[in-house]
């Protein structure tokens, strides 16, 4: 009788863990796909999350495919789209000057869940420096701030798209 209990426990536990793992797989793929859908840009910095979900659902193709070596981007300040994460929305603003990224300012960073603000404050300067150095949104993940990084970079990319950078 005890063997039966042990065996069913093992199977049920493995089953539950597999379901959790599978659910985790789908969860991460959806969070990764959100940035890809952020083609449209929000005009103002006061975007709410509603605007983002609209942006995500409209998924209009971005203007990005401009050749990387093509005409230089116009100088100015561009706000990226607001990207939702489970820790709050993220939106950044990029400043282009002389055809180069000269500044990235966060308009809104992850702030839901107790540690989010701490993580945001820690990750934002690192991302800022990396982006300025790389002159693109293709920089490495800040460990311990994966969600913030993903959202930060996709908001940045949407701003760069808008600038034709």
């Amino acid at each position: 009788m005890r063997t039966r209990a042990v065996i069913t426990s093992i199977f049920a536990s493995i089953g539950v863990l597999l379901i959790g793992w599978q659910a985790g797989q789908t969860a991460t793929t959806t969070t990764v796909s959100t940035p890809q859908a952020s083609g449209t840009t929000a005009r103002t910095s006061t975007t709410t999350s509603a605007a983002t979900s609209a942006a995500a659902s409209s998924a209009s193709p971005s203007v990005a495919p401009a050749a990387p070596v093509g005409p230089k981007a116009k100088d100015g300040t561009y706000a990226g789209s607001s990207v939702n994460t489970q820790f709050g929305s993220v939106q950044v603003q990029v400043t282009i000057s002389g055809g180069a990224i000269t500044d990235v300012t966060p308009l809104h960073l992850t702030d839901q869940g107790g540690r989010s603000v701490q993580i945001s404050n820690y990750a934002a300067p690192i991302l800022h420096d990396e982006v300025l150095q790389a002159q693109s949104s293709r920089v490495s993940n800040v460990s311990g701030a994966t969600y913030t990084t993903d959202a930060y970079l996709s908001s940045l990319q949407s701003a760069l798209d808008k600038a034709g950078f």
Partner: protein, 470 residues
């Protein structure tokens, strides 16, 4: 003519035995299911983390440490909630494995749960520290600034206090009431830990199914405690309005307490079960006493027999007539319902005779089905023996008695004289392997009988013991 009743009784015996086997199998199935639920709930706690995408959060060393810290916290908390359920005296658990085994599992989970929660705290301090560049001790400061974290630190402190005071070596230094008071703090510990789980971690974020599941677990655990440890006993005590009717001295230091009440049969007590009694006088109300019924209750009358041990029990004998009594119960599987085998063997020592007396009274036995062995270290300890003898005669059971002190040299549960005479468990109970063996008495003695029975080859499910030490 004489052959007819005997055939009938043999047929009844066979069908009773078939019933017993069925009941036992059902109980074993439920037991297995409960074990499965216990372990699966632990796995489910870890699965919550995986479902959050946790498997991807092992990318760097810091993240891996943090992730591990989160998993240990989830599983540790799940174990604590399981422990609450096990201690809640949920009827289905008591009926399936019995209250004493439920508490044994509860105890066994205590240390692992504490280690997991300590690991949770330490790993997260290290993990967060790596991320932010602080050393783990310095990380405590920033962590305490997070909302709900001060409460969580208090919760961990309380859990440490609860588990440490329950370690066997430490618990001996406390009175039961002192230990119990510290133990009650675990409710606060579990409650104080909840806010940080819901707000700091992202796993149980608002709107996630994980949050719903987790809150449901909390509701289940606390609901079971509130329902079965507070509401149900209070309602039942009020409804049956028990009062002390008479206190009768049956032997030096041993009294029978008779109670009067209403509809006591509807409590559904089985012979061999116990209640937790509380006598509502100014000096006794904070003590509760787990005591077995020493006779089957009638509608208006119940009886327990108590040996005066320690502080609380010492005052029972002087309790005044008419004192209000509240009860929790009935609990325990030292009953006829737990039987699995065709024959019945009973060994009782000292005050351990009380549940045996009630069990015997309730059991329907065929002549020759039961063998009883009563044990006392001297003649003062032979209380209720006359009642058991009467019942044994009425039910056609064989009764043996053994009076005398145990040998100090060799570990035996028998009096020295009997052991030297070559009496063994098998010689007293020739059908032992076909019997359910019910043992009740002081723990060190009982452990010896159990070991002897196991050595004789009795299967675990035929062994039923009631210990008087918890």
């Amino acid at each position: 003519m004489p052959s007819q009743p005997s055939t009938r009784s043999r047929a009844a015996l066979t069908s009773a035995n078939a019933n017993r086997r069925q009941r036992y199998q059902r109980r074993a199935r439920t037991g297995d299911l409960l074990v499965m639920l216990l372990w699966t709930s632990g796995a489910a706690a870890a699965a919550l983390f995986l479902a959050y995408g946790g498997a991807h959060l092992f990318g760097t060393f810091g993240a891996a440490v943090t992730s591990l810290g989160i998993v240990t916290g989830l599983v540790g908390t799940d174990f604590i909630l399981v422990m609450l359920v096990l201690a809640a005296r949920v009827p289905v658990i008591d009926r399936t494995i019995g209250h004493d085994r439920a508490i044994a599992v509860h105890r066994a989970l205590g240390k692992p749960a504490l280690y997991l929660l300590l690991a949770h705290g330490v790993l997260l301090l290290i993990g967060y520290g790596i991320t932010t560049g602080y050393n783990p001790i310095a990380e405590i400061g920033p962590m305490l600034t997070l909302p709900d974290m001060p409460l969580a630190f208090i919760a961990l402190g309380l859990i440490i206090a609860v588990v440490v005071t329950s370690l066997v070596a430490v618990r001996r230094k406390f009175s039961y009431e002192g230990w119990h008071f510290v133990h009650l703090l675990s409710y606060f510990a579990v409650a104080f830990a909840l806010p940080h789980q819901l707000s700091v971690g992202g796993i149980l974020a608002t709107g996630t199914p994980q949050r719903v599941y987790w809150i449901a677990l909390y509701v289940l655990a606390f609901g079971a405690i509130v329902a079965y440890r507070f509401v149900e006993p209070a309602v039942s005590s009020l409804r049956h309005s028990l009062r002390v009717d008479r206190v009768q001295q049956v032997s030096p230091g041993v009294v029978s307490i008779h109670f009067s009440g209403r509809n006591l049969r509807s409590l559904g007590s089985a012979g061999g079960q116990f209640y937790i009694w509380r006598f509502w006088t100014g000096s006794t109300w904070w003590h509760s006493h787990p005591i077995s019924l020493s006779a089957m209750p009638t509608d208006r009358h119940a009886r327990i027999t108590v040996r005066e041990l320690g502080n609380g029990s010492g005052r029972i004998s002087s309790i005044a007539r008419g004192t209000r009594v509240s009860i929790e119960g009935p609990y325990g599987l030292f009953t006829d319902a737990a039987r699995t085998a065709p024959r019945l063997a009973i060994i009782a020592a000292g005050i351990g005779i009380t549940p045996v007396r009630a069990l015997l009274e309730q059991s329907r036995l065929a002549p020759g089905e039961a063998t009883i062995l009563l044990r006392a270290s001297d003649t003062d300890e032979t209380y209720l023996w006359d009642e058991v003898a009467e019942l044994a005669t009425a039910k056609g059971a064989t009764l043996y008695t053994m009076v005398g002190k145990r040998s100090r040299r060799a570990p035996t549960w028998m009096p020295q004289a009997d052991a030297q005479r070559g009496v063994t468990l098998k010689s007293a109970f020739p059908h032992l392997l076909d019997s359910d063996l019910y043992i009740c008495g002081p723990t060190p003695w009982l452990d010896l009988v159990e070991a002897d029975a196991r050595a004789a080859g009795i299967p675990a499910h035929q062994l039923h013991s009631e210990r008087f030490d918890w």
